[in-house]
Symmetry: C2
Subunit: 543 residues, 2 copies
């Protein structure tokens, strides 16, 4: 993070505040929506306002060089960047901050931290950019540890080696999106993985959480970009071989991808890269209703056209983000290639969407950042910042994402919408609003992303949010979806995860963890409990 301080209570750097004019616009828009002049119940916190628990443990002399325990560092590493994380910061509620924060500079440093922590019964929370919205980096791990350390990979951000012929690079896990791309750019290569958190998240975090990129189809998930990786576990190192493909047993990388810091710490990875796109073709298509749009997207997803962008946004969300006027669902459709023009693809795609009632203005050449797509993108990138305006107003705003097969989508969408409205009403007494868009689409189903918003009361936001979140977890899993498509499981999705995944698989994972992390110090409470101790659900989802 090269010196620039991160904001511990919200998105971005400490010096990045939402300009007052923009904040006023957000407040006014919400006040108008709810027909009452909303006022902030709290101002942003300062580190000095927190009476943090004294560190219970101290880094040994050998690790002093990379250890920090000042209030700002401890606060930055206490929570991720979810709605409840923000609420708890505005409420000055951080009962279990890390006792110490380590900034390793090498895999050797990581191994030394894990050795020490295993010996001393200190929980270790691997930390990339800290952008988790599911309680994935939270340090509230309960009382069975002598202490808790956050392990921030942020000083390990180098691109170590580039193989131009194979278009791949070995990159340290702590590389943040912008720095990573900046190092690749002189070689005319790009990882082309752009999650919403891009600016404030790291390669290692993307891999550990199975990050979904910005693109809608084909090469978008971090899973597919990993060629090899190096992992440090309490039981030793683990490096896989750089290969374009292999059929030798279960793929080792796949055991670590999505392990969310429970099995080991990813210290570097060989990543498959791409050439930067030169050819683009895009269009914004309107549908009278969301389900017709979904049928059009199904046709596209099964066409083999592989659009890079295929974001269907319902009418209400389209209006909210400036992508539409609220009269129609909007499909932001785009194609990109580094090698050849995409006009034929767009032309065929437009035939398909017309078959499902889609209408559009004449497509723009190369204009993927303009019009509906551009408006949507701007709102998308600003949204995480707006939370610092919204939380003190006592408004609950959150999102959840899932994936479901096409055969069940229509019923799923209707039931999730109806039950979430009921859950919001039950928790707050107010009418909430829930909108939906597709972030990714597959031939066998979409990944719907739901955003919800309902007025709550600042003092009890955690209780209200938790009731709604629990309902969302239950609805999604009951209706056949996955508990998470790309936000990860963390602590907030554990109840749903436990119902989605076969218990025998969990037992097998626990056994694997007992090998790589015999003292069960790594990210306890995330995904599943270690066999040797029940940690259970802690943090924001704890009751």
């Amino acid at each position: 993070m090269s010196g620039r301080k991160r904001k511990f209570w919200g998105w971005g750097f400490d010096d990045q505040r939402v300009p007052e004019a923009e904040a006023a616009m957000v407040r006014e828009s919400l006040s108008k929506t709810y027909g009452t002049a909303l006022e902030a119940a709290a101002v942003p916190p300062e580190a000095g306002e927190f009476d943090l628990r004294a560190p219970r443990i101290k880094a040994p002399q050998s690790l002093a060089r990379i250890a920090h325990d000042d209030a700002h560092e401890r606060l930055v590493h206490a929570y991720g960047k979810s709605f409840p994380d923000s609420v708890r910061m505005f409420q000055r509620h951080v009962p279990e901050p890390p006792d110490v924060v380590f900034y390793p500079e090498s895999a050797r440093d990581v191994a030394d931290v894990l050795d020490w922590a295993s010996r001393e019964n200190v929980a270790v929370i691997p930390f990339g950019g800290g952008s988790s919205v599911v309680g994935g980096v939270e340090t509230a791990v309960g009382g069975s540890y002598r202490g808790v350390a956050s392990l921030d990979l942020g000083r390990m951000g180098r691109v170590i080696e580039i193989d131009r012929a194979s278009r791949s690079a070995r990159i340290e896990a702590g590389a943040f999106g912008p720095a990573l791309e900046a190092q690749l750019k002189p070689h005319h290569l790009t990882l082309r993985h752009f999650p919403q958190s891009f600016e404030f998240s790291t390669l290692g975090g993307w891999i550990a959480t199975r990050s979904g990129g910005h693109f809608a189809t084909l090469y978008t998930h971090i899973d597919d970009f990993v060629q090899a990786m190096e992992v440090v576990t309490p039981a030793g190192q683990f490096a896989t071989r750089r290969l374009p493909g292999s059929g030798a047993g279960p793929q080792p990388e796949r055991l670590m991808i999505g392990s969310e810091g429970t099995l080991g710490v990813i210290t570097s990875a060989d990543m498959r890269l791409q050439d930067a796109p030169k050819f683009r073709a895009s269009a914004a298509i309107r549908f009278a209703d969301f389900l017709s749009g979904a049928e059009a997207v199904r046709a596209l997803s099964q066409s083999g056209l592989h659009p890079s962008n295929c974001r269907l946004i319902d009418a209400q969300e389209a209006r909210g983000t400036g992508a539409g006027d609220g009269s129609a669902s909007v499909l932001v459709l785009g194609f990109e290639s580094a090698d050849h023009p995409q006009d034929h693809k767009l032309a065929r795609a437009l035939e398909l969407v017309r078959d499902h009632g889609g209408q559009w203005d004449p497509p723009r050449q190369g204009g993927h950042r303009e019009g509906a797509a551009g408006a949507w993108r701007d709102a998308f990138l600003r949204a995480p910042f707006w939370r610092e305006v919204i939380v003190p107003l006592g408004i609950i705003v959150d999102t959840f994402e899932t994936a479901i097969t096409w055969d069940r989508f229509a019923g799923f969408h209707a039931n999730v919408t109806a039950r979430m409205k009921a859950a919001m009403r039950a928790a707050t007494g107010h009418e909430g609003r829930i909108t939906c868009r597709f972030t990714h689409v597959y031939p066998d189903g979409p990944a719907p992303y739901f955003s919800f918003q309902v007025p709550g009361r600042f003092a009890v936001l955690m209780v209200q949010w938790r009731a709604i979140k629990e309902a969302a977890n239950e609805i999604v899993v009951n209706e056949g979806g996955t508990i998470t498509h790309h936000h990860a499981v963390g602590r907030d999705h554990r109840p749903g995860y436990g119902r989605e995944v076969p218990p025998l698989f969990i037992s097998m994972m626990q056994a694997a963890k007992a090998v790589s992390d015999p003292a069960a110090i790594l990210n306890p409470g995330v995904l599943f409990d270690p066999v040797s101790r029940a940690v259970g659900v802690t943090g924001a989802m704890a009751r």
Copy 2:
């Protein structure tokens, strides 16, 4: 297998013999190559010629309905279909046949077999089509078991349920390629997974061994087609959720895909299907040398054009299979789509190959089964049958496949070729020939497939073959390749696998196995030893 008996000593059904005219052609061609009139040292075996060890165990009454122990069944299930398997059959050498063969008709039957075997210390070898070429279904498991059972899923071959909207189907694991496709065809869907073994291999076998399909890029690996699966293990069942995608923890299916029957028995899977292609465009391109062809393929692999066929065949192999005249390497290039014409893609691909010196005759429209591609395909499908002609002549013919990043390919190809020639000479005293083609290509590297042939002596073929195979394993792994790209590990690739994969990962897999297979009865000797007993390398690779 619906009544038609399989050949226990070679490829295909018992009634499928290579016609004498075709056999004579193969013999004459080899005699000409080696400048001597080759004669068969053995005739095909009959089941009655084997003095099989009496079954050491008997199926319990409750499983009698699905148990068989006649000589033909025991011989069919003793080995796979590799070169050494064929040699040992021609040599009438089957010291460790299965004691009993089970044909379960349901997941419940599978569970009952595993329960009984776990109690009775009987090793169980899951068997799909038995087409393994790496010792994956071999029943020679050593002396620490009371007996060994083969578990043939061949009676579980139904397509259970089709979801047309999501293009997916739930299919029993014992479905053979042709029967599977025949059941999908009325629904205008196809799995479109065509390994060379297609006719004689099963869905469950494909998943358990990470089968590579016929197509060169994109959707070709069985890994990518699995939407969900049901697995029966000695510790219980394990069913995953039908989802188009998920980011919830390490993907459970990926633990089982490639587990080669060591962790559980796949009983059914939900598979992603495709529409049958309607549009095709193809060409056969000649390159003066293989490495220029490889550079052209690299450009294609990184272009985003995603050819369905992109098979670069070196000059010698092109001549041997009728795809060329031996003066040039041949690239068989093809595009397919169910949705839109592929001419633009082919046109762009031809620009790319021309930049690397490729030359071609005017492309044919829709002619992917004609010309070089057709000739190659015919030879490809007949090759497994020819082994029954070649083995008794005392000629060693075998193949191995790998994958390697582009930056290392040229050196890899040169070194593998040189060292394999040396290994063949050392083992037999004769000059051998080794050829190469690409079966699959990725943006970061090709999957080279090597075929080798050298005259040996019938009586000592096993010793000679083993020396060469060990050299091949060592060369491939030393040079940075993977021990297997799509043939699987089985018993024959274990030494290389043990060097390729991190020991800590193996320990984690062993721990997972101790959960799902606590008595360690499942396919011992494949991939890795169970923690509870060292089985080591048995069968064809044993010394």
